[in-house]
Amino acid sequence: MLELRGVTVRYGAVRALEDLSLRAEPGGITAILGANGAGKSSLMRAVSGIAPVVGGSVLLDGQDITGLPAPARAKLGIAHAMEGRRLFRQLTVEDNLKLAWSFGARRVALPASLAEIYDRFPILKEKARTPAGLLSGGQQQMVILSCTTIRSPRCLLLDEPSLGLAPIIVQQIYGFITDYAARSGITVVIAEQMATLALKVSRHCLVLRRGRVVLQGPSAELLQGSDGKALAASYL
């Protein structure tokens, strides 16, 4: 379980997150919604340890990790797929995967881990020796997701996995994510701009605006209920 207690993130004079609290339970997806600049990415960066947290605390399964540097958090099992399709572009697909595995939990042997990924995304096997930067957007997203799951994480943070992808690819990517979340039973947090999509796959949802939580609750209620108007309002 991931828990944030009154977390404040500040970049110079700009406050990206303001006294934010949340609980993300394992075994289901927690969606973070909000417009551009609402603080979704800052929230994730605060958890993985690359944002300047000036107040509050971050807990993973009850352990306070606020003071830990990013590599130590990664070691504890936090896997963060950053916004903007970040991967090592000059390294081949397989080198990206191997590297992620090497510094992960190594719960499954490397050959078996790779075989599982190639089985799930056959195109990645074909492109194993291609520099990752030369792949299509969807294929890159597959590599990024695989780089997080190959680490056998305890907590998965996905920052806008649908960004800039064709609808059919988005469907495929989300199919993989929901499947993985159900199968592994770990804590999964997704930041998304596409509200309906995120609400459909998630169990719980938070809406951010200017670094604060303005709305939260079970996704099913937010999706159909009277809160629809409030949801729309938070984007305006």
Partner: protein, 296 residues
């Protein structure tokens, strides 16, 4: 092949091997941080000077070399922590590290001049003396030259193997490509960067001892020109490539010795920089460098 040409060639190969070592040292910090330690020259000088001083205090030469290498390794870490890291932290894309590393180098040079004097000091024989030689193709070849070449080639092969075959080598490459992503993936970026500066300084120290061995003397100003020539070798071979460093070093070494022998010794260094300008105009990524691959 006449004797004169052969002796020039040999001298070129051996100083070229030292340039390659310097280039390799520059590459190491470039791998992790895309910065170069322009204080390398002073570390070379300091390592050689310390070796002379320690051995004059009655310490065995081998121990003196090891002790001096330990000192420059520590200085390398100091340089990362106090001259490079703050400069990189300052507003994004700052080139402050050029000035701060160069400045620290000049400071070391000044300290060396104050405490050891600015006179050239005779360098002790580390492995072989200048009189030891073997015969090769009917020519007398100084064993020192061969040792320098062997050390350079061995270090280059070792580093290339490390980068290509080990997980940590891949991690070093990853740090150079995207340090933030490396952090998030659990790679201890800080330690790798610190380690690269330490190893880079050790390489500078080794190069300093080797070239002092060939030249026979050291003085505080020694090293400054050398690091520039090492830089030319690195750019010529392709910044970041180990084989490039070796090739670049040998080209610079041989060409400058040939020009020195047949034209004028005054033109020795000039030709290296002419080569640099030519390389930047014709093949900016260097002999072994690869242009960046990327797609939006």
């Amino acid at each position: 092949m006449d004797d004169f040409f052969f002796s020039l060639l040999l001298a070129g190969v051996s100083v070229g091997a030292v340039y390659a070592l310097i280039a390799l040292g520059l590459n190491l910090t470039f791998w992790t941080t895309k910065t170069l330690n322009f204080g390398q020259g002073s570390l070379m000088m300091l390592c050689a000077m310390l070796t002379v001083w320690l051995s004059s205090q009655g310490i065995g030469v081998a121990l003196a070399v090891l002790g001096s290498l330990a000192v420059v390794a520590a200085l390398g870490m100091f340089i990362e922590r106090w001259t490079v890291r703050p400069a990189l932290k300052a507003s994004g894309g700052s080139m402050g590290w050029v000035v701060s590393t160069l400045g620290f180098g000049i400071f070391l040079q000044g300290m060396a001049a104050k405490y050891f004097g600015s006179q050239a000091m005779a360098f002790p024989d580390v492995v072989f003396s200048a009189q030891d030689y073997v015969t090769l193709f009917g020519q007398y070849v100084s064993l020192q030259y061969l040792v320098v070449l062997a050390v350079a080639v061995a270090l280059i092969l070792a580093l290339e193997l490390f980068v290509r075959k080990t997980v940590w080598g891949r991690a070093v490459h990853a740090v150079s490509l995207d340090p933030e992503l490396a952090l998030v993936q659990g790679i201890p970026v800080r330690r790798l960067v610190l380690g690269s500066f330490m190893l880079s300084s050790i390489l500078a120290g080794v190069a300093g001892v080797l070239i002092a061995q060939i030249g026979g003397t050291v003085d505080p100003a020694f090293g400054f020109d050398l690091v520039l020539l090492g830089f030319v070798a690195a750019v010529l071979g392709g910044m970041g490539s180990s084989f490039g460093a070796l090739a670049g070093g040998l080209v610079v070494g041989i060409l400058s010795k040939l020009v020195g022998g047949y034209v004028s010794t005054a033109a020795e260094h000039g030709i290296a920089f002419a080569l640099l300008m030519l390389a930047l105009a014709v093949r900016p990524q260097g002999l072994f460098g690869r242009p960046e691959v990327s797609k939006a």
